[in-house]
Every structure is written in C-alpha cells, then in structure tokens.
Symmetry: C2
Subunit: 345 residues, 2 copies
C-alpha cells in the first residue's frame, strides 16, 4: 500500500472544457482539452493539485444544465487532491481533500467545495472518490435515513456492482439483510456475490427478471435500492412486499427525458402494497458527509468493506469517460489518475 | 337534531347480493335483492339492525376480488347500526356501532367487524359513516401519519369535496396549512371554498390545471393528498415542491387496471424533487380507529368540522349507488337510509 502517490507540479493548469451541450449521455466530442495559466491564489481559497478525477453518473445532469456548466467552462466533477497552497484558516498544505474540484489539474477551491478530508493516513487516496467518497457516502446515508431494514429482509439493488451498489450490498449484508443484485454482465454478477455481499444476482440482459424476482423473493422485497428506473423499476414495484420501501437514487436507464417517456402507471401498486417511494440526493446531506466518511474509513480499515476501481490514466482520458460509464463498460469505481500530469498529451 | 331515528324490525333479513363479477365500476345489474330468514344468533356474535348503509369507493375493490366477495354473497359494506341482541360481553342492546356489516337489514357481526362505537349521544347517527366514519378517520390518520405540514404550506387535494377530501381540507386549514382543491363540478368547487376550508379550488373538467397549479403554488405544493391517480397525479407531481410528499389514498381516476395502463414515467421527478410518495389504507390502522373517532366527535360537536351528506332511501337504492358515486354525481357522503326497512320494495 502506497498512501501518497508521486505527483508532479506542472507550471500551468490543464482542464477539460464543455464544448457543446450534450444530447443525453455526454460524448467524447462534447468536450475539449485546454490550457490556462495559473493566477495568484485569491484570499479565502485553497489551491488543490487534483490527483484522481472522479467519473460519476451525476455529471450527465451537470453537463445538461446551463446553470451548472456554461459552454466553455471547466467540466464540474468530484476529485481527490492535495492542498498545495492555502489562504484560508481551515486548511493547510498537505491536506488530502475530496470535493467538487472539476476535471482539471489544479483547482482554486472555496472551503464549501470540500466535502471531506482524509483522516486515516494508511488508506489509498483513490478510495476517497469511491467507497469513501460520494458513492460510498450515498449508500451509507441513504440506507441510514430510508432503509429501515430488519435482519432477514430481502432487498433488491440495481447497478449492484457499481460504485454505490457495491457498498449498498455490503452494508446490507453486514446489517443482516439479504441483498439481491441486478447487474449488466456476468462478470459483475459474479463479483456481486463473491465480493459485495449479495446473496444472489442477475444479469438483466439475459435473465428473465420476473421469474428471477419471484424465485428470489416469493413474499416480495422489503426494499428496492434503485439507481436506474425504467422498466426494471416498473417490474420491481410489482414484486415489493407490503409496506416495502423504494429509494430512488438515480435514473440511469432512461437516456433522455425529452420528450417525457411513458411507463406503467404505478400509483395502484403504491396504494395496494402500501409502498413508500423516496428520492435521495447526496448533495442535500453534505453537512453529514465527513462523519459518514469517518464511519466508512473504519469499515475499510477493519476489512468489512471491500471496493473495486478502474483507473484511466491522464487527463485526455476524461472526455470519453462518461460514454464508458453509461455503457456499463467499467468494472468498479471509474477514476482518472492524473498524478503524472505530464502523461496527458 | 334527532339523535336516534325511528326504525322498524322486520321479521326476515333482506340483502343485496353480488350477482356477477363487475367489469370496472360495479353496475346496478351486477347486484340483486334477496330475502333470507333470521337464524338464532350464535354465541360470540351481536345482531345489528343496520340503519345507514355506506357507499364507498373501496367497494369497487371488494366487488372485484373473489377473496372478498363470492358470487351470491352479501355485498360487503360499512354501515351504522344499533345492537338489538348481544351474545358477547363487550356489547349490549342499544349500542350504536359502525363497521363492516354489509348491504343488508340485519347483520350478525363478530366483535372484530366493529370499527367504532358512538360516544357522543347528541350527534346524528349517519355521521358515523362519514365525517366520523371511514372517510373522516382516513383523512385524520393519513394526515397525522404522513402529512408533516407546517403552517402556510400549500397542499393539493383531489376529490376535495368528497367524503375524505372535505375532511382533509378542514383539518389542514385548522392546522394553518393552505389547502387547494380539485373537484368535478362547479357546485363542488364552491362548497370546497365555502364549507370545507379550501383557499381555492378548480373544476378539473373545465380548468387548465397546469396553469391553475402554477398560479396557486408558484413554488410548488408541499403535499398532494390524492385519491384519484391518473393524469392529474402525473401533472401534480410536476408541481411539487422539493421534499414534498404524496399520500396515495385511492386511484379512482382509472376505470380498469386490466390491461395495465400507461402514464408518464415519474421516477425522475421523485428523485429531482426529493419526493416521498406513500400509500395509505385505513384498514391497516383499525386499532386506532375508535380513538380517532373520539377526536373527530369533539371537532364536530365544537363546530370546527363540517360535513355534507346525500341520503338515498331504501335498500333497493343500493345496487345503483356505486355507479352514482363513481360518476361523481353525489354531493356529500353517499349513504342509504334503511331506517324504514318496509320502504324497500
């Protein structure tokens, strides 16, 4: 284990800019690489050398929203970095931080952009964007707030081998529940069971899900932790137990919401099954983020929480990374390693 | 006010039987009137002379479900009646009771069929099937469990002049919230505002609801208390405030669920607006029913809770009553007055 990687300090900044507004999933051609000189750091800011850029489904929404990303602006992203200069009291050089720092080598961040700080110096830095970052904390806080599972409860989880789902499975299993996963290829299905605590898992591209759900949960699921929506959600709703809960954490199955897509009417299922269906967005809970990271650090250090990551290398890999993510082609939390900035073209 | 009406005691029972399985809304021709001799009352039962039979949307589900109503069986219903003979310790002759007694003159009920007993002898009996019965208690407990409204919150309510909605509006107004109603004709709209506490109300058959919702709640509704579902629900979801709640109490807008109908996909709204959408069925809460009636009796006696009812007369009116109800043709809680059993043909 190498807690702090080697990294260089190039003279200027390099960034990935949004070149045009994406239609649906952001494509490689929607972005461009650009250079920008470093200005003196303003008061109240901290300069961060980003080391691992995160690639997350939420960026599709940020890229689509003119209020979040202007054309020509640095693509917003989460990232892990090291403070190299600080002009605010709360941070000092050498702090390892995680937050909304953008797809770029350097970020002059405000303290409010920082979500968490590394406390355990033995853990690899990249984990702070995955199992110890937004995906892990989403799993941890969404379950803490909304799951209400009891030991033995059957829980269905979509994108079960993904950055959020892999943590959901393990947290549920550690709490005595019985997670059942849905994933997009056989290798992910195997990892759900061998690594991520799932009792069983199904490849939604090849399994007959209606039969699989009925066999896995003849009395219905107590909880559906869903990050995809779409027809699998419509089917899962019809396999929920009475008084079951649905946590809506994402809607990745639907490529475009314009024009508004249709699906099965679900209100009768909500009523007859007495379901409770709630939306969860981690950015509403940033005040609790750092405490959640501390809890998750203990689990990782104690060996009760495993993770998996896929590293792309160099800033030039960023523009195509969301295509890769939404195709489900990644295995584990998708990150871009920019510790050697010079390796970028 | 005449607390106890005159009633007669015919020698035999008369009932409304389910003649065939309804397709959608139960029609007059799905039922038949029949006579049946009275047998000696079994031990552990109480004999009730029904006085006011209730007509409720839930009966559509009971009539459709072979497990709830066999062909040839007495049509299940709620009713208010008086105990005329008791072979169980908890009840005695003269008790006024409300429960699941069926569309018939006499019911030999088990104690578990009784939902509540009249405590306040000054209030008219028919109220125990409406504002003091299932509709009133549904409004009271659903709001108590799930509304979480604060003073000033804008709340949308469908079937706002109906048996449940008329109580919902007044309870919300009395709690300082601002209820906005949806109803099916102009007379109901007027009563929402003049009698039932609504700040404003709209006729969904003539108003442009999207414009009406936007004007009534530019920042969105904090709560939607919904008994209809369908396209109005899809629209209302898109006018909810962040962290808003939806209480699903019925799905009257959809005539048939076979084949499964389609509508707008709603999971993205659940997520982006952080909504919480929950089904509520009063029959899950019967242990709290009697206490809720006591609270509502005090409001009615104190003049802070108004009601409205429409009485049909005679058992022969029952077979056509659900058609009347689902057409929205009733004004106020729909009941069948069978105090003079001889008036039935």
């Amino acid at each position: 284990m190498k807690p702090l990687p080697d990294f260089d300090l190039p003279a200027g900044n390099r960034e990935v800019r949004l070149r045009r507004r994406p239609q649906g999933v952001p494509l490689r051609t929607d972005f461009e690489l650009a250079e920008r000189p470093l200005e003196p750091l303003p008061a109240g800011r901290l300069r961060i050398r980003n080391l691992y850029l995160s690639v997350d489904p939420v960026q599709r929404g940020w890229a689509a929203d003119p209020a979040a990303t202007a054309i020509g602006a640095t693509m917003p992203s989460l990232a892990v970095g090291i403070v190299i200069e600080s002009r605010c009291d709360d941070f000092r050089e050498g702090d390892i931080v995680y937050g909304r720092f953008g797809w770029q080598i350097y970020c002059d961040a405000a303290p409010a952009d920082v979500f968490s700080r590394r406390r355990d110096p033995t853990l690899p830095l990249s984990l702070y964007a995955g199992v110890l970052g937004m995906p892990g904390v989403t799993a941890y806080l969404a379950l803490a707030d909304l799951a209400a599972t009891r030991p033995g409860d059957l829980v269905l989880v979509s994108t079960a081998a993904g950055a959020v789902g892999s943590v959901v499975g393990q947290l549920l299993r550690n709490a005595g529940a019985r997670p059942i996963g849905i994933a997009g290829d056989d290798e992910k299905v195997r990892r759900c069971v061998s690594q991520f605590g799932y009792e069983s898992a199904f490849n939604y591209k090849t399994a007959l899900l209606a039969d699989a759900f009925a066999a896995a949960a003849p009395e219905g699921f107590s909880l559906y932790f869903d990050s995809v929506g779409g027809p699998i959600l419509d089917l899962a709703i019809r396999h929920m137990a009475r008084f079951g809960r649905i946590i809506q954490c994402g809607t990745a199955a639907t490529a475009s919401w314009t024009p508004p897509p249709s699906g099965l009417r679900n209100e009768r299922e909500i009523l007859m099954r007495r379901l409770s269906w709630t939306g969860f967005v981690i950015f509403d809970h940033l005040a609790r983020f750092d405490a959640a990271v501390t809890a998750l650090e203990a689990m990782v250090a104690g060996g009760t929480l495993r993770h998996d990551e896929e590293l792309l290398v160099g800033l030039a890999a960023a523009p195509g990374a969301l295509e890769h993510l939404f195709a489900g082609a990644n295995h584990g939390k998708l990150l871009i390693d920019i510790t050697r900035a010079d390796s970028a073209p």
